[in-house]
Each structure stands twice: as structure tokens, then as C-alpha cells.
């Protein structure tokens, strides 16, 4: 039964990926510019810290080499986000307003799945290569680095990504109830911005909030810390638990929102 379900959704996912690739390559200038934009974004983040570290040895409790690793983790999680989710959830509010959600709800597939993966940004797949390359290079710059510690990434990046997805989807789901929630998108990006800086720069109370109540600290800071510092097992355990928990919450919340949905197109 589970195999059949996985097969079905795997097939849908593959079909979406193919259709997205064809659609994106159709507009070549746009496709190239999207890749350039992402490189620009990475460059801006790297450049900022490289310039700042010309004037200090530590930011929070990390030096330049360690901050580069943090950026590598951030880039990897962000690459997944950009490839699979960003465009779909950013446009979700508009879809609800235009009544496109009705059509989607009538399909014999999980609506959350379809909303999340409606379109794959194929141009962003290159981001994953760039991000992973940067991450590996940054690790190679660490003196006496124990490479087995890098394996934490395989556990904690999916966990961080799940946290990111769960929060973002829950915010997007509000569109079903309130219809015009473009502003909530801004809120998400500001929350995310808090996670785009090493958590050690924050005051202890704020850091606690960013690890628990609004857990954006789990997106990049915790995975980077597991690779760089002696592992704090309670933080890792919390990160691994929080990811699925938030995704489960997003599903529950989506169902609650659907109960209040009044079709826009009818």
C-alpha cells in the first residue's frame, strides 16, 4: 500500500519536474538570469562576511572559517527551498484569490503535496551544486577537521529544511482564510532573516526563542554547530524532533484552514 502511494506521488513529482523544466527553458533569458541572481545572492552573503571579518576576528563565537561553514549550510537549505517551495508558496495567495485552488482541491491527490510541488524551479538545481561546493570547500579550510562530523549534515539539513517548510506552509495556508495575505509573506522573510545569521550573535533570550518558539535557528545554525563544535545532543535531538513536528502541524493547520474555505471562484 505504502509502496503504491510512494509510486503514485513519485510519478506525479517526476511529471511536474519535467513539465517545469520544459516551461523554464522556454524563456532562456529568464532562465539564465535566475541562475545569475542566485549566484549574486550567494556572493552578497559571502562578500558581507568577508568584509566584516576584515575588521574583527569573531562574530558571535565563530571565526571567518567557521562562518563560511555556516554560510555553506545556509546555502544548501536555501537551495532546497528555492528549488522546491519558494515559487509555489509565494504565489499561493494569488492562486486562492483567482480561484485556482478549487480546481486543485477536486483532484484525487493530496492538496498539500500539489500546492507545495506545483512547480519545480529547475534553474535552482544549480544552486545545490554551488552550495554543496562552497560547503565542502569551507570545511577543507578548517584546520584538523574531522570529516566524519560532516555526516551530521545528512540528518540536520533535512530537519532544518522541514522546519523551514512547516513554518512557511503554515503562513501560506492563512491565504485560504484571509484571501489577501501578501503581507504575511513579508513576515516570513523577516523571520527567515533571523535564521540567516549565526544564532550566537543573539542575546540568550532571543536565541532561546529562535531555537524553540520560532525555531529558525534550527535551519542553519544548529546543523553548522553540530559540524563545527562538540555536538550538544539535546539540541540535535530537538532539531530532529521539531522538523517532523512542525510539518505535522502544518498539515493539521492546512486541514483546519480548508474547513473555513469559501471558494473564490464561485
Amino acid at each position: 500500500m505504502l509502496v503504491q502511494v510512494l509510486k503514485k506521488y513519485g510519478g506525479i513529482f517526476w511529471a511536474i519536474t519535467k513539465a517545469s523544466a520544459i516551461a523554464e527553458i522556454e524563456f532562456r533569458l529568464n532562465f539564465v538570469m535566475k541562475i545569475i541572481n542566485d549566484i549574486f545572492w550567494y556572493a552578497a552573503q559571502i562578500f558581507t562576511f568577508e568584509v566584516l571579518f576584515r575588521h574583527t576576528n569573531l562574530i558571535g563565537d565563530w571565526n571567518l572559517q567557521q562562518t563560511r561553514v555556516f554560510l555553506g549550510v545556509l546555502f544548501i537549505v536555501d537551495a532546497f527551498y528555492m528549488t522546491f517551495i519558494q515559487e509555489n508558496l509565494d504565489r499561493f495567495s494569488e492562486k486562492v484569490r483567482k480561484g485556482e485552488l478549487d480546481l486543485l482541491l477536486t483532484k484525487p491527490v493530496n492538496s498539500q503535496f500539489m500546492i507545495t510541488f506545483a512547480r519545480i524551479s529547475v534553474s535552482c538545481i544549480g544552486n545545490l551544486i554551488i552550495a554543496s561546493s562552497w560547503f565542502i570547500w569551507s570545511l577543507s579550510q578548517l584546520p584538523d577537521f574531522n570529516w566524519t562530523k560532516a555526516l551530521w549534515i545528512f540528518l540536520l539539513v533535512p530537519a532544518g529544511f522541514s522546519v523551514m517548510y512547516g513554518i512557511r506552509f503554515s503562513i501560506a495556508a492563512l491565504a485560504v482564510v484571509f484571501v489577501r495575505v501578501d503581507s504575511m509573506q513579508y513576515v516570513w522573510y523577516q523571520i527567515y532573516r533571523l535564521g540567516m545569521r549565526p544564532d550566537s550573535i543573539y542575546m540568550p533570550w532571543l536565541k532561546f526563542i529562535l531555537l524553540t518558539i520560532i525555531p529558525v535557528g534550527l535551519i542553519a545554525s544548529v546543523p553548522a554547530r553540530a559540524v563545527l563544535d562538540p555536538p550538544e545532543f539535546w539540541v540535535i535531538a530537538w532539531s530532529v524532533t521539531a522538523g517532523p513536528l512542525i510539518v505535522w502541524f502544518s498539515t493539521w493547520f492546512w486541514k483546519q484552514c480548508l474547513l473555513r474555505y469559501q471558494s473564490s471562484s464561485s
Binding site: M33, F40, A44, R54, H55, N57, D182, R197, I201
Partner: protein, 270 residues
């Protein structure tokens, strides 16, 4: 064309932008206040951490308070000098052919969105600047209030430069489908070139000189640096001159692209 008609028409566009932006108040509040407030708080916290890590009283010749004031003002001024909304609208209209409805009206497409951009920026900037003003007044972070009008004048003048670039990018939609990514590229480049990320004086000298010569630095670094006492009147004048040259360059380019675009454009079906 009489000046009165021109003035009345553009005042109408200006008011239209204010009214439509105030229509969704929560959206307006998030856009004008919440978003830049959180950003500035994150940036200020980062600067505190940098000073703590550096264990120094000054960085690049300035104390921590100067950086906090810069981070606070820079976020809000950067929001005032960036153009996403109207650029996307223009591109979409050209792309989808809905521009036809505007072309047949007795007005100029260029002024239609310029006046709207100015209206939108007036209302959001006027409202959002309350936050840094209150913080600066209550924390005594370095700000020379006597320089405020001149700094704001440069910010306002810079909007014409930003709009000229937007018009050029939007005009490219006559020739290419989906040029939205160019807007993102431009704004990402400006993010770095304006000094929004960090004060440009922290850059290596050679790069800093080049950045200061370009008009982009007048989007954030020059007005904020001038307001917070990092730079003097000479840099401000230099800012006005480079922005003027930038406006001239992109206006000519925009006019050429528009003319060519109108010849190539076939507005069928819209």
C-alpha cells in the same frame, strides 16, 4: 500641453498610489513598518556582535553607536529607494498586452508610473521613518538632524534615477518574454552597491572609490553616511552629480528602448 493639465494629471496619479496602498492597511503596515523594523533590529544585533568579537572601541575609525545608527537608517532608506512593485507591474502590462488600455489614454506612460512611484514612496517612507526617528531620539544614536532635509532631498532625487532604470528594464519586455528576473538581478546588485549591507567605507580603498563614484551609493550610503556624520557635504554634492549623470544616461537609454519597443510591439488580443 499646459503645465496645469500636466500637474493635475500627475497629482491624480500620485494620489491614486497613496489611496491604493492605504486600501489594505495590514499590508501597508507590514510593508512600511514591520518588515524594515525587524531587518534593522537584526542588523543592529549583528553590529553589536561584531564589536564584541573585535574587542575594539572603533572599527574603521567609528564607534559602535555610529554603526548602530547606520544600520537603523540604512534599512529604512534602502526600502525607500528600491522599486519592485511598479517595475513588475510595467513588465507585466507590456508582457500581457494590457498596456494597450493605457497607451490609448491622453497621458504619458512614463509619467503615469513615475508619479505613482513617488506617491507610494511618500506615504510609505513618511510613515516608516517614524521608527528610526523615535529610536534615534530615545537612544541618542549619532544623527545630525540639521542634515536631515538635504539627505532626504538626495533620497527623493535618487528615486528618479531608480525609476529611469526601471523604465529601461520594463521596456526590454517589448523584446523578450519574462524579464522579471532582470528586476531581481538589478535589485540584488543595488543591495550591494548602495551600501545597504554594510557601510561602503569598510571596503578596501580601491573598491570603495569606485563604488562612491557610481550613482548607486546615493541610494543608501551617501544619505545615511551624511546623516550619521560619516561623510561631509562634498560627498553629498558628489552624490547629486553622479545621480544626475545616471538619470541622464538611463533616460536616454529608456527613450531609445521605448521607441524601438513601440515599433516592435504588436498589441493584439489585449
Amino acid at each position: 500641453m499646459s503645465f496645469t493639465a500636466f500637474y493635475k494629471r500627475n497629482l491624480g496619479f500620485y494620489k491614486l498610489a497613496i489611496a491604493s496602498n492605504l486600501e489594505y492597511r495590514l499590508n501597508f503596515f507590514m510593508d512600511a513598518m514591520l518588515q524594515p523594523s525587524i531587518t534593522s533590529i537584526v542588523e543592529m544585533v549583528l553590529w553589536m556582535a561584531i564589536f564584541k568579537g573585535a574587542q575594539a572601541t572603533t572599527i574603521g575609525g567609528f564607534e559602535q553607536n555610529y554603526y548602530l545608527a547606520y544600520a537603523l537608517w540604512a534599512t529604512f532608506i534602502a526600502r525607500a529607494t528600491v522599486n519592485w512593485t511598479y517595475e513588475f507591474k510595467m513588465i507585466e502590462e507590456i508582457d500581457q498586452g494590457t498596456i494597450n488600455g493605457l497607451l490609448v489614454r491622453p497621458m504619458n506612460y512614463y509619467e503615469y508610473y513615475l508619479s505613482q512611484l513617488l506617491g507610494y514612496k511618500s506615504i510609505t517612507t513618511g510613515f516608516s521613518l517614524l521608527f528610526p526617528v523615535v529610536i534615534i531620539l530615545s537612544t541618542q544614536l549619532p544623527t545630525d538632524w540639521s542634515r536631515f532635509p538635504a539627505a532626504m532631498l538626495l533620497v527623493f532625487y535618487y528615486l528618479f534615477f531608480v525609476y529611469s532604470i526601471s523604465f529601461c528594464i520594463a521596456s526590454l519586455a517589448f523584446f523578450f518574454n519574462k524579464v522579471n528576473s532582470l528586476t531581481v538581478t538589478k535589485n540584488l546588485a543595488m543591495w550591494l552597491l548602495t551600501g545597504e549591507l554594510f557601510p561602503l567605507d569598510l571596503m578596501p580603498e580601491a573598491i570603495r572609490k569606485v563604488f562612491l563614484l557610481m550613482p548607486f551609493s546615493s541610494g543608501v550610503y551617501v544619505p545615511v553616511g551624511f546623516l550619521t556624520g560619516r561623510i561631509g557635504w562634498d560627498a553629498l554634492w558628489q552624490g547629486f552629480i553622479s545621480v544626475t549623470l545616471g538619470i541622464l544616461f538611463f533616460s536616454v537609454l529608456g527613450a531609445l528602448l521605448w521607441r524601438k519597443g513601440m515599433k516592435a510591439y504588436v498589441g493584439t488580443g489585449a
